[in-house]
Amino acid sequence: MTTIIILPDNIHVDRQTNAWPDLTISLISGRNNMGISQTLSRILSGLFQKKTARIGIYGPPNAGKTTLANRIAKDWSGSATGMISEVPHETRRAVRNGDITISSQDGRSITIDIVDTPGVTTRIDYKEFLEYGIDRNEAIDRAREATEGVAEAMHWLREDITGVIYMIDATLDPFAQVNIMMIGIIESRKLPVVIVANKIDLPDASPKRIRSAFPQHPVIPVSCLDGTKIEELYEEMVRRFR
């Protein structure tokens, strides 16, 4: 006996359009080892299994990316992972924190992998590390690791990331070239993005300046250090990356 079953092929909802993919028709012989109930169970679990979004935290060095990644991990999974310091490029390798579920106040939620990336830059000179009292050999190693980390982060942005939290230090000029380039790259890949205007606990912070530089994207002012307005960011993340 031959049974016709409509099998969804690698089913998931397209995040840009919310469209369901095409269905394929497969012929499954009743003599196969897999029983009908087993097949149906596979179909149902496939239907309701949502693909985890991979959200990259990008931005220039010292914008607060690791502070945010740690806060998200701590608030929603109870553990922090990254080292934080004033030395630029403290994060020299992308750090992935998987299966974090964030809920909004209205009960909606998202499950995401958070990828904390090294600060994006077009220049790295090991001599900059010497100013922080690091010896020459270690500074050279740090610079090499940082260059590899940035290259890897750029590659992932083109190949692997499905959404971006873009961090900007709100006390600095938002028109910095790296911000302009990165926002352009993110837009060209049609990735959903939330811009975080970080460090609003500092007196010079101006989220308004960031809003006027990138009016086409949501800008959420926060202090990742003390947690000010962090809930607004979580709400926006659920809205934007769902």
Binding site: R123, I124, Y126, V150, A151, Q177, E187, R189
Partner: protein, 120 residues
């Protein structure tokens, strides 16, 4: 005579080159101390690859990276006909690229870039 070489590459010439060739040309020139001015700039994907390749070529006491300056992209015109009429990517704008240790940005606004170029 001491000085700095500047190569100004026209849109016509750039549009005939594949992305990899364009990026190779920029990096080879900049590594030799040349300032490169691109009439029409790079696409976002090319910029992303340029950053990646730059990182892979940085060496201690040698090449320390690039300085790149361009204007912010113009507000997007979403009309299909206007894009067809223009026939170009609105994100590509005039771009200056130079060695990180020779080209320094002094002031930058939405419509003005002021930079300082020094010799090697």
């Amino acid at each position: 005579m001491q000085g700095v070489r500047i190569d100004m590459i026209s849109d016509e010439r750039l549009s005939k080159m594949p992305s990899t060739e364009k990026i190779r040309l920029i990096l080879d020139n900049v590594r030799e101390g040349t300032i490169v001015i691109l009439e029409s700039g790079l696409t976002p994907d090319e910029q992303s690859i340029l950053i990646e390749m730059t990182m892979r070529e940085i060496l201690p006491d040698g090449f320390s990276g690039i300085e790149i300056e361009t204007y912010p992209s113009k507000p997007r015109n979403t009309g299909v006909f206007s894009r067809i009429r223009r026939g170009e990517d609105e994100s590509r704008r005039m771009t200056v690229i130079g060695p990180a240790n020779q080209l320094k940005m002094i002031r930058k606004e939405r419509d003005l870039i002021s930079a300082w170029i020094s010799g090697k």
